[in-house]
């Protein structure tokens, strides 16, 4: 059986970024852990389809809605793939 393992070069990049963020926060005198005095914000996103995706048509509909929304907000579209 195949075993999935993350790409090592990408892991190094992620690790380096994590360490950089941590160092920057330390230099700024900020903690790495969440502030216990602040109210945590719960997940407030609403799914495109409340019942989830059940077909290719559902998935395409979500993609099309995102494209319409991006156009509506006049945001640059990602490069075509």
């Amino acid at each position: 059986m195949k075993q999935y393992r993350p790409d090592v070069e990408f892991q190094k990049l992620r690790y380096s970024r994590m360490k950089s963020r941590s160092t920057l926060r330390r230099l700024q005198g900020k903690s790495d852990t969440p502030d216990p005095n602040r109210k945590p914000i719960p997940d407030n996103s609403v799914p495109w389809l409340p019942g989830g995706v059940h077909s290719v048509a559902d998935a395409l509909w979500i993609s099309d809605q995102i494209m319409l929304t991006v156009k509506q907000w006049k945001l640059p579209l990602p490069p075509r793939t």
């Binding site: 075993q3 989830g52 993609s63």
Partner: protein, 240 residues
């Protein structure tokens, strides 16, 4: 004149007569990531050989004469008699003529043709007759593509699988835990295995951490510095 042809309808038509797995961006959306995509990617049952596979595609083309086949990359048209050789060489073709491009794979990235059955069996049937590959199989198709856009998909899928593993691994039987680790391994998952009730799984988790660290994974190397080695294993980097 044919009514507006959609890739959703084309896919459903193929799925009525053949096994069809949804892969690519739409499969990632189906697993919960909100992102857009321009094309539909499917893995059509590879069948006995590229000739039988080509016949299945030819039937679709016969039903919808507006469809055109293109070479992926060069975007040159493909004639029907060229299809078996091209699919043997490229593993994928593009169909144009519906509302979105439809990429039909016979051999998707990181999978061999003979692995179709196991991916199909692990998949989930959808209402339109297609199947959605499980998270790990989908993640495998995203490996080593060298495409920036796949990084977001990889991070989403890895994170979702890890969450499921953190929930299931502690209570999994020894056999099931070994099977899980044999299929998906990140430093965080290997570290989670160190808390498993079975000593064998703790040893396996530690050995995997050593392997990952030896391969150059910095997270695994850091966890090894923090975690005590289970009894009977030499601590530190290096395969025990």
């Amino acid at each position: 004149m044919e009514a507006a042809l959609t890739t959703a309808n084309l896919t459903q038509e193929l799925a009525a007569t053949h096994r069809v797995l949804l892969i690519g961006g739409l499969a990632v959306i189906s697993h919960g990531l909100d992102r857009l995509t321009y094309d539909t990617d499917i893995w059509l049952d590879p069948l006995m050989d590229s000739y039988h596979w080509s016949e299945a595609v030819a039937q679709l083309l016969a039903n919808h004469p507006c469809l055109k086949m293109l070479n992926i990359g060069t975007w040159e048209p493909i004639l029907l008699h060229q299809l078996p050789d091209i699919i043997e060489r490229d593993g994928v073709i593009r169909l144009m003529g519906a509302n979105h491009p439809l990429d039909i794979f016979r051999r998707p990235n990181e999978f061999e043709i003979d692995e179709f059955d196991e991916v199909w069996n692990r998949g989930k049937t959808q209402e339109d007759g297609t199947r959605l590959p499980d998270l790990i199989d989908l993640l495998v198709t995203k490996q080593r593509t060298g495409r920036e856009k796949d990084i977001m998909d990889i991070m989403f899928l890895e994170s979702k699988i890890e969450s499921a593993y953190f929930e299931d691994l502690p209570g999994a039987s020894e056999a099931r835990a070994a099977e899980m680790l044999g299929r998906f391994l990140t430093p965080e998952v290997a570290r989670a295995a160190l808390a498993h009730p079975s000593f064998e799984i703790r040893k396996l988790g530690y050995r995997y951490l050593q392997e990952l660290a030896a391969e150059g994974d910095p997270y695994a190397a850091e966890y090894l510095r923090e975690e005590p080695a289970p009894y009977g294993i030499m601590p530190g980097v290096g395969v025990g």
